[in-house]
């Protein structure tokens, strides 16, 4: 049976996650429908960490360039390019057939919206994020554990926390976190236990240290708690 993975954001995390998900699906002979979602175009500043793009790709849509680079994986991996932005108007259509969503977007508001949409639709979510030399991953299995809003109640206002443009992003760490996201998505797709479900895995790239922080379900979580479920299914 073909499984569908949706990657939101084809940047520093989405590129390695897509590449390794294709590698793993091919190796495991898992028929995969991989949906790439991003409305950005390749810029020179992307090239150091967004590993599917080359200098000559500048100006092209990221999802189209990525789809071309991933095409050689052959008939088991079907790539679909969606040059749109994830927002309330596109959410339902983008997630309609998803078995797992990998979130590599770069805005706080979007990340909480993705979490909420996946919780509402009952879709597994692999959340990955990087800033400077710190990276983290959390897997959300709706109705079976905690979600991003159980850990943080909501996004910060603009400017309250450093953004990538201020703190930068270490290119090697994108590979580490993107690879971890791909591995976690494969576990979800093949029915293996998710390693980051119910716990935030944090990498400190500058020191090589890794920490695990348990994330308990919040009974009154606005996305996955009892009141939210009751509102969706009164």
């Amino acid at each position: 049976m073909i499984r569908t993975a949706v990657i939101l954001g084809m940047g520093g995390l989405g590129c390695p996650a897509a590449l390794l998900l294709c590698e793993e699906a091919s190796a495991a002979e898992l028929p995969l429908h991989l949906v790439l979602v991003d409305d950005d175009r390749v810029e020179a500043s992307n090239l150091s960490r967004q590993i599917l793009y080359r200098d000559g790709d500048r100006g092209g849509l990221k999802v189209d360039v990525a789809a071309r680079r991933l095409a050689p994986f052959g008939p088991l991996v079907e790539i679909e390019s969606r040059p749109v932005r994830f927002d309330p108007s596109t959410s339902a259509q983008l997630l309609r057939t998803a078995d797992v969503v990998l979130d590599g977007t770069d805005a706080f508001e979007t990340r909480f919206a993705v979490n909420d949409a996946c919780c509402a639709a009952g879709i597994a979510l692999v959340h990955g994020a990087v800033l400077g030399w710190t990276g983290q991953i959390l897997t959300v299995l709706p109705r079976r554990g905690s979600c991003l809003r159980c850990l943080f109640e909501g996004p910060p206002p603009p400017g309250a926390l450093p953004a990538c443009s201020e703190a930068g992003v270490a290119s090697p760490l994108c590979g580490v976190i993107g690879a971890a996201m791909a591995a976690e998505a494969m576990r979800v797709l093949t029915g293996l236990p998710a390693r980051a479900a119910g716990r935030l895995l944090v990498w400190e790239g500058a020191t090589g240290r890794r920490r695990e922080i348990p994330v308990r379900p919040d009974p009154v979580c606005a996305a996955c708690g009892a009141p939210a479920r009751a509102e969706r299914h009164p």
Binding site: G9, G11, G12, L13, G14, D103, G104, T105, D106, A107, F108, T110, R111, G128, A129, V130, L131, G132, W133, T134, Q136, L151, F152, E153, G154, P155, P156, A160, L161, P162, A163, C164, A167, V169, L200, V202, E204, A206, T207, R211, I213, P214, V215, R216, D218
Partner: protein, 92 residues
């Protein structure tokens, strides 16, 4: 033995690059935050809102325990406890 506070990378510019800070005389999480804020100006505003409550996009763990599931800032601390500050990050 002091309480150890792990400072996340996004907040280290405020702690002169320190990844860990040792605090004596911090009987509660609130006392620990106040002492950190005294040593490192600007940190309080990142952690607490105008009413002195923990900001919604920051979390603090005592050892592996989320203080939101306990007594929040009134969570008590003992010698050798480890506090971990975890802010939301969104880079991709």
């Amino acid at each position: 033995m002091p309480v150890t506070v792990k400072i996340p990378a996004p907040l280290r510019p405020l702690t002169q690059g320190q990844a860990e800070v040792a605090l004596e005389n911090a009987p509660t999480v609130k006392a620990a935050v106040e002492e950190l804020s005294r040593r490192y100006p600007g940190l309080r505003e990142r952690l607490l809102d105008d009413k002195g409550a923990l900001r919604r996009y920051v979390n603090i763990f005592r050892n592996d325990e989320d203080i939101r599931h306990g007594k929040m800032l009134d969570t008590s601390l003992s010698a050798e406890d480890k506090l971990t500050i975890v802010p939301a990050i969104a880079g991709g």
